[in-house]
């Protein structure tokens, strides 16, 4: 994906829609994730963790993410 430059945020146009099922989509998502992790590294605690709901699991992730910039 080429670099695009703008003089202000207001001038920025959204990225064009990606074609569904393009194998490149997964690569892009992982590249973005890589960049996000570099800016704000959060380690998961290795192993199996059990939750009574999806919301409980994601709330735990959120606390981990906002509570530490390196690891638990």
């Amino acid at each position: 994906m080429p670099i695009r430059k703008f003089r202000s945020v207001e001038e920025m146009t959204p990225l064009p829609d990606r074609r569904p099922f393009d194998p490149e989509n997964l690569r892009l998502a992982i590249a973005w994730s890589h960049a996000a992790m570099a800016l704000h590294p959060v380690k998961r605690t290795p192993g199996v963790h059990k939750y009574r709901s999806y919301e409980d699991m994601k709330a735990r992730d959120q606390r981990r993410s906002s509570g530490s910039s390196v690891s638990e």
Binding site: L26, R27, I30, S33, V42, R44, P46, K50, Y54
Partner: protein
């Protein structure tokens, strides 16, 4: 040096192992959205899993073939079918997690998930349909999910039911 996270190789290895072991699963969450072309950063791979004993055994075999980690044996059908329908597995590196769901609230169970199969780099991948992902995202409480639901609705011109 940038930290390693969910490298493409690892993500594809997991999906390939699911395919090889015939795991009954559906890719949902942000990775499912990414396959559909709606891309954002993430730190996890969310999958819906059929929680029956045979399938969870296949799931354990698949994960063990990618990660040599005895803790994988702690993932059980009894938990997923019972009091713990959400199980998070973080590999030893701790760089990302695989979030396993057997049900989402009272509204979504594995058998009710609409999915389609696509082939990515030669690997068959079961991914939730845009409408299904939208419904799942719309009905949860996280702000991020609301944003995801909005992006899906706009991208696929979905309407509320």
């Amino acid at each position: 040096m940038l930290p390693r996270i969910m490298e493409l190789e690892a993500a594809l290895k997991i999906l390939a192992a699911f395919d090889r072991e015939r795991v009954e699963y559906v890719l949902v969450g942000s990775m499912g959205m990414a396959v559909l072309g709606v891309i954002r950063a993430t730190r996890d791979i969310d999958v819906f899993i059929a929680p029956d004993e045979a399938n969870v055994a296949r799931l354990r075999r698949a994960l063990t073939s990618v990660f040599d980690d005895p803790s994988i044996d702690e993932i059980t059908s009894a938990d997923l079918s019972g009091d713990y329908p959400a199980i998070q597995y973080a590999p030893p590196s701790g760089d990302f997690s695989i979030d396993l769901l057997a049900r989402l609230g009272e509204r979504f169970r594995f058998d009710e998930i609409e999915w389609q199969e696509v082939t990515i780099d030669g690997i068959r991948v079961r991914v939730a349909t845009p409408r299904m992902l939208y419904r799942m995202k719309r009905d949860t409480v996280r702000p991020q999910d609301k944003l995801d639901a909005s992006a899906l609705r706009d991208r696929f011109e979905l309407e509320d039911e």
